[in-house]
Symmetry: C2
Subunit: 237 residues, 2 copies
C-alpha cells in the first residue's frame, strides 16, 4: 500500500510556516502498513492542484492533501478538487448540519457556509477539533493544514483505509564515520534485498557516528540483517 501527500500552501513555500504534517503522516501511515512514497509541496494555484491530484491519485493507492480548505479567498483546495474530479460543488447536507449544531445563532456566516460546499460525491472526514469536516473523493483525502486539525481528521479517515503490511525498523549506532562502514554495509544490503538499509551520520553532543537504519515488512529477515550489521560493527571496532 503506497500513498502520496500533497501539501498545499504558499505559506509553506515562503518559509513562513514550518510543515509538521509530513513527518506525522509518515509515521501514522506506517503504523497501519501504508508507506508514504512521495510528497509534493505546491502553491495555492488551481491548475497546480488539479494536475498534481490527478497525477498522484492514479499513481498511488491513497493521496492525502493538507491545506486550503478554510473560509477565506486563499482557500481554493476544495474547488480545485471538484475540478480535478470534474464534478460540481454543492452544499453537503451533513456538513451543513454539523456546522449548524456547532455554531450559535448568527455565527454561521457566509464564509463559514463556504466550508459546507463540497464536491458532488464527497464523503465526510470527521473533524473533532473545529468541526468543519475534511472529505474524501475516491482515494483522495482532503484535510486541513493546521496540524492539530489534520491529526484529528486522520483518525476520521482511518475507517476508509485498507491496512497493509507494517514496515518495522531497527537502528544500530556505530561510533565511526560512514565511510568506514560503507563497503561492508553495501555487501549486507546486497544480501538482503528485502531490507532497506540507510546510513545517516550523526553528531550527538559532540559524539560523531553513524546510524544504520534497517526497514522491512519481513520481521525474520530484518532480524537476520540486524545481526549481520551488529557483527560488522563489532568487527570494524
Amino acid at each position: 500500500m503506497k500513498a502520496a501527500l500533497i501539501i498545499i500552501g504558499n505559506e509553506i513555500l515562503s518559509g513562513r510556516t514550518k510543515d509538521k504534517n509530513l513527518a506525522y503522516l509518515a509515521e501514522w501511515l506506517n503504523e497501519i502498513g501504508i508507506q508514504l512514497y512521495e510528497v509534493r509541496v505546491i502553491r495555492d494555484d488551481e491548475n497546480e492542484i488539479i494536475d498534481c491530484v490527478n497525477l498522484l491519485r492514479r499513481k498511488y493507492n491513497y493521496v492525502f492533501t493538507t491545506g486550503g480548505i478554510g473560509p477565506t479567498h486563499d482557500d481554493i483546495t476544495t474547488e480545485s478538487i471538484a475540478k480535478a474530479f470534474n464534478v460540481e460543488l454543492e452544499t453537503n447536507p451533513e456538513a451543513l448540519k454539523i456546522l449548524q449544531s456547532y455554531y450559535k445563532e448568527g455565527e454561521l456566516n457566509e464564509a463559514r457556509l463556504k466550508m459546507t460546499l463540497l464536491p458532488k460525491g464527497a464523503e465526510l472526514v470527521e473533524n473533532p477539533v473545529t468541526k468543519a469536516p475534511g472529505f474524501k473523493m475516491k482515494n483522495v483525502f482532503v484535510m486541513a493544514g493546521i496540524p492539530s486539525i489534520m491529526q484529528g481528521m486522520l483518525e476520521g479517515a482511518k475507517i476508509f483505509l485498507k491496512i497493509g503490511n507494517k514496515m518495522t525498523s531497527k537502528s544500530i549506532d556505530v561510533f565511526m564515520p560512514e565511510s568506514y562502514v560503507a563497503e561492508e554495509l553495501s555487501k549486507i544490503q546486497d544480501n538482503y534485498p528485502e531490507v532497506e538499509i540507510g546510513s545517516y551520520p550523526f553528531n550527538k553532543e559532540g559524539q560523531f557516528g553513524t546510524s544504520l537504519v534497517m526497514r522491512s515488512v519481513n520481521l525474520n529477515v530484518l532480524e537476520l540483517c540486524a545481526s549481520d550489521v551488529t557483527e560488522m560493527a563489532k568487527k570494524l571496532g
Copy 2:
C-alpha cells in the same frame, strides 16, 4: 526568478528524519529575490530522481537538491544526476585535491573517494563544513542533506545565482476568526492583484486570531494594501 527543491531520501518519507532544509532554503532564496515555487520529496530511487530533475530543471530557473551525496550505498543522487544529464561520472581533480588536503594519510578510503566522482562538466559548490563538495550541473545545485552542511553549501552556490526582486512581507494580526474577515479581505485581494494575501488562523497561548500576511515585490503597493487591511481590521472591531 523561480526555484524548486527536490528533497531526496527515504528517511524523510519514513518520518525518521524531520526535514529542516525547506524552510531554510525558502527564506534564504527570498532574501536574494528568488521564489521557491515547488518542493518534491522523493525516494532514493534512480528513476524517480532522473525524472524529477529533468522535469523541474526545465520548468524553473533553478533546482536545488538535498541528500544522497555521501559515501554509502544508499547515496545515489550524484550518479542519478549524471544519468539525468546523460554524462559519465569522472574523478573531479579539484574535488580530489580538496579531500587529499583535508584527510590525513590513509584516511581517504575508497568510500570517501566516491565523493570525488562527479558528473562530467560539474562545477564545484564549496562545503565549508566537511569539505566533500556539492556541485552544479547547469541550473541544478546538488547539495548534502545534513542541514549545517547544506547551509554552508548554499553560501557557496550564491556566486552562481542571479539576484531577482525580493518579496517583502507584512503581517497584521487580528483577534477574530478568519470567517469574520473573509469577505472584506477578498475584496482587498481583488484590489491588489500584485499582492499575495494569505490568512492563517493562530492560537497564541489561548488567544485565538488570524494572521493576515501580505507579500509583494512592489513595496509601494504593499504599503497601500497593508493600510487597507489595517483599516478593515479597525472597522470590524
